[in-house]
Amino acid sequence: MLLDLYTLTAVVAAATALTGLVVYFVFYWLFQRVAGRREAEEDEVKRKIVFSGFIVDKPEFPSLVELVKDIYSRAFRRGFRVVERTSRGLVVDWYLVGYLLMLALLIAGVVIWLTR
């Protein structure tokens, strides 16, 4: 069925929302209502994080960004250092980069105006 892109996007988004809600209500809500069992006895470790037999009250969650950076730094030792140094430089010199971008826009505008 040939549609225009906007109608197709709307139809597929509607199908996604409808199917998603059916999945939620049938596979989660309905199952929990009809067949979801609760444990007869609840112990103190339920819903807590336990390491080596001890409850951890304040677990440390490592930073995702640091972990991803660590994986990439191991994969590309020299290249990663260059990228990191360059991006740090760009962040530090943000005003210079912004100035250059503005200048480039200005020059592009003048060129377009002259060649119109």
């Binding site: 225009d4 197709l8 199917t19 490592p62």
Partner: protein, 323 residues
């Protein structure tokens, strides 16, 4: 109008939508377990249903019927809604394939498909992170590192058949129309198609966490990483999304690189059967690879993907545009 609404509900919820995807997951998971068992000299599932065919369904029902337990640092409802929508997205993209009785298509509909496919890994990562645990954080970080390395090459190589078909057959970047002409694309630009098929297949392996790219869930190392803290219905929905991904990605590979519904055209019983057989062939290859290769370290996986997959996919796209 009423007819169209009924048809839309049927296609979204029954075929090729939700019910069909659930049945296909049950069958392909049974196939995966049987093949894995044969490779490892075991028998695999035998008790539930004929030949153990209903074992995945029994496991799903067992998990769904358990009490929903999430840890004190976790979120309750939002991750369940997001992962349900991700399953909805995977189920809905099948409406744009020759599996549908009346496939939906539009110029540039590939953008919609790519957007919906890109949503799913982040929904899985969100579900995992919303039940935090140090092992989960490590698993999610590995998954994100893998996504950064594999998603762009997948998108670039996915575009190659669409570009070739748009240039030579006037299909206007529609997935359904391209799949109907994809048997001709290998003759029109063999170099570009070969490079794109290779990079797309490897990217699909990484996105589906097939070995050697399964470091995000490395069982013996980080206790299943992404899924460490998930149990009961949360684990069931997470695995549902993961298994649905294993249907949709190989399906699109078969549509774009293996001739789609060829030797038939359009949609209907015979084209859908041809597409499903090709999909099952890709799935079997993925299963055998998953059971045969050792695991890469996360940095090795990322290095391999960026060093080889990025150039391959970029060159294939340039060749598709130039030749």
């Amino acid at each position: 109008m009423v007819d169209q609404v009924i048809w839309f509900l049927f296609e979204s919820l029954v075929y090729p939508g939700l019910v069909f995807v659930v049945l296909l997951i049950i069958f392909t998971q049974w196939l995966y377990r049987k093949l894995s068992a044969r490779i490892q000299y075991r028998r695999g599932p035998i008790h539930s249903g004929p030949f153990g065919l209903l074992q995945p369904l029994a496991d799903l029902i067992k998990l769904l019927a358990k009490e929903d337990v999430y840890n004190v640092f976790g979120l309750n409802i939002p991750p369940l809604v997001v992962i349900s929508l991700a399953i909805g997205a995977l189920s809905s993209v099948t409406l744009l394939t020759p599996l549908a009785l009346k496939p939906l298509y539009a110029p540039f509909d590939a953008v919609v498909v790519l957007y919906l496919l890109a949503f799913v890994p982040f929904a899985i990562a969100y579900l995992a992170l919303s039940n935090p645990n140090p092992y989960t954080s490590v698993g999610v970080a590995r998954y994100l590192a893998l996504l950064i390395a594999a998603e762009p090459p997948f998108v670039l190589s996915f575009l190659v058949p669409l570009v070739i078909a748009a240039r030579h057959e006037g299909t206007e970047y529609s997935v359904y129309l391209t799949s109907n002409f994809s048997y001709r694309l290998w003759a029109e630009n063999p170099a570009s198609m070969a490079l794109a098929a290779a990079s797309s297949f490897i990217a699909v392996m990484a996105l589906l966490m097939v070995k050697p790219f399964d470091s995000p869930e490395a069982e013996a190392e980080i206790y299943w990483g992404l899924f460490t803290e998930l149990g009961g219905p949360r684990l069931a929905l997470g695995m549902f999304a993961k298994f649905a991904e294993r249907i949709v990605y190989p399906l699109f590979f078969a549509l774009l690189f293996l001739g789609g519904p060829w030797p038939f055209q359009g949609s209907g019983l015979l084209p859908a059967t041809a597409v499903l057989l090709k999909y099952l062939a890709v799935y079997v290859v993925l299963t055998i690879v998953d059971n045969s290769l050792p695991r890469y370290r996360p940095d090795q996986a990322v290095e391999f993907l960026i060093k080889y997959l990025y150039p391959m996919s970029v060159i294939s796209l340039v060749l598709a545009v130039v030749l």
